[in-house]
Structures are given as structure tokens and as C-alpha cells.
Symmetry: C2
Subunit: 207 residues, 2 copies
Amino acid sequence: MKIVTVSREFGSGGRELGKRVADRLGWAYYDREIITAIAEKSDMDEAYVARLLEQGVKSHYPLTFRHTFSYGAMAQQNTTRILIAQHKVMQELAARGEDCVIVGRGADVLLKEHNPMNLFVYADLEARMQRCRERAEAGEQLTDRELERKIKQVDNGRAKYRQLLTGAPWGRKESYHLCVNTTGQDIKALSGWIEGYVRYWFGGDGQ
Amino acid sequence: MKIVTVSREFGSGGRELGKRVADRLGWAYYDREIITAIAEKSDMDEAYVARLLEQGVKSHYPLTFRHTFSYGAMAQQNTTRILIAQHKVMQELAARGEDCVIVGRGADVLLKEHNPMNLFVYADLEARMQRCRERAEAGEQLTDRELERKIKQVDNGRAKYRQLLTGAPWGRKESYHLCVNTTGQDIKALSGWIEGYVRYWFGGDGQ
């Protein structure tokens, strides 16, 4: 079984890159599907789980849980449940034995025993802001300042979540096999090259 | 003109990787040659220049200069002369208009206006120690502790030199287009894939 994990800065195009690489390789691709599965496992509201995984744990911040509000200890309990559920979901994915690309969700750490190839995708803040603007949903009109704050918030959440999961910092190049800067890059073109790297990594036939 | 710069942690195999990529591409390769040219330009002892570039500036440490000793202010002056000379050498290289791979020497910064592709090569400390051992010259028998200290010293020197040159930290992934972890990798096999990336980068024909 071959597993590629993709960690990424918000707005870097890492998600699109992961999807394209999976398509090129003909491998399974997991992203939101994992969240859904986790939500089912933990019997929680999917949007809540998604937000918790994206934004990290803010124990003194009110969080919607089954449309009620919870604080502190309850959020902490929920986080623990989600982490356990996530671990189970990852183990189930691994048990399937499929070659796959997994974006985010701490897969690089949770599936470490399966020797995944771990990719980190990043870009300059300006490039990430531009990408976010291009992909903004109708009605989502943020000022530059608001957008910058949002990007930093999401990254900060991912960093906190990773810290919680692993005790290790997020985004340090030492944790990954390859770090790709997508600033000014065409993700589609780049995906062909990453595909080559994955083939090289797992079989040495990427030359 | 296409320029690839290679920055690397000591013992990561970055130098070998740069040389192999240059050979595969049929491009010029610069490393020690640059030091020689700089030494000629600045009318300094080559070993001195090499050591200064490798170890960074230690202004309170005695340094050999034309076989005499100099301290503080003189070392500072020499550093300035070397930086100016290095800048000139880089400009001359660029003026040749050759496609080339340049390892170290701050080329990514000094040649920024020529839009080089900037590669950073790194590895786990253990892997770097192993590589150093394999390449140790006869008679160079360091304990693990001494070797670890040496690796950290060289990296620290490179970091200081870069700081001096650019005011920016060394080894942060944000400064590079691609960061490759060579831990457990075969440099020769890896070079084929990096060649592909360079071709993709400059011409989009690496697919």
C-alpha cells in the first residue's frame, strides 16, 4: 500500500494539488470524506467536526454542538472523541490497503507506521491571498486585512491541531519529505511533476 | 539564462546532488571554482576565503590572513572585501549567460534579479552524520559528539553568513522554491527527478 499525505498552508493550492496527483496516479483521494466518516463515528454534527479540525481547539470559545452551545470542558471532551474517531478512521483507511492520497487531518502522523510519503505545500502570503480571492464564494467579500487574518487563523488552527496530535510543530520542513512552494506556479502543471516524484519515491520509476 | 541555486545543510548530500543535476542537464556547475575566483579578485589567501565563507564571521577570533594573524576590525574589513568580491564574481557568472547550477555562496540572493530556481537540501541529523562518516577523509576520526558539533558549527556559519548577506534567516522554506529531504534517499536516483523538476520549472517540459 502506498500513501501520500499532503499538509498545506491555507490558500497554497495543496488540496487541488493532492486531488490532481491522486487522479493522475489513479489512486483514492481522501479529504472531506474523512471528516464525514469521523463525524459518523463520533456521532457529531459534521459542520462542527469540520470546524474543529480546521480551527483547532479554542477551549474558552463557544462551539456549536448539535445546535446547542458548549464551553471549555465539553469542547475538550469532544476534541478527545474526535481524535479517537479520527485515529479509527485512519486505521480503517489503512486496512483497506488502497494506494491513496490524503489531504490534511494529520494523516502523516496517524499513519506513520505505513511509511507514507509526506508532502508540504506552501506559498507566499500574497499568492495565497490571490488564490483565496479567485476561489471566494459569491458574497464572500473580505478586505485584504480580513483575508490575511482568516488565512493566519486557519494556519494557526492547523498548527494547534497538529501540536495536539503529535506534540510537534506544524509546517517545519524536517517533518516532511518534500516541501513545494506554489507561488506563481500552475497547480495542474505542477501535479505532473509531483506524480513523477511519487512514482520515483515508491518505485524508482519516475526517471 | 537558467540558474539553479542549491543551498544545503552540511552532510545532506546537496553538493553531490547539485553536481549530478548539472551533469544531467549538461549545464555549468559552480562551487569551489567560485571561491577560487573570489580569492583572486580580493587578493586573499584561498584557504582563508574558503574558511570564512564556510564558518561565517567570528570577529573576535584570530584569522589567518596572508599567513599573519588579524583580529576584529581587520576580519570585518576582509569580510566586506570578500562580500564585494563575491558579488562581482556572481555578476560575472551571470554576464556569461550560461545555464548553470551554483551550490552555496548565497547565489540565490546575489543573483535574485536573474530569477534562479532555488533548491534547499536537508536531512535528519542522523542521516547527515552517516553521510559524513562515509565521506570522512582517512585520519579524520571524530566521535559522534564531535561530528554532531562540527555539523552544527558549519550550519551555524552558513546561517550567519546568509544573515550577513541578506538580513534574512537561512534554511527557512519560505526562501526556496523546493525543499528536499534526502534522508534515506539515493542521491543519484534523486538527481534524475530534480532534473525533471528543473526542466519543468524553466520550460514546462518535465512531464
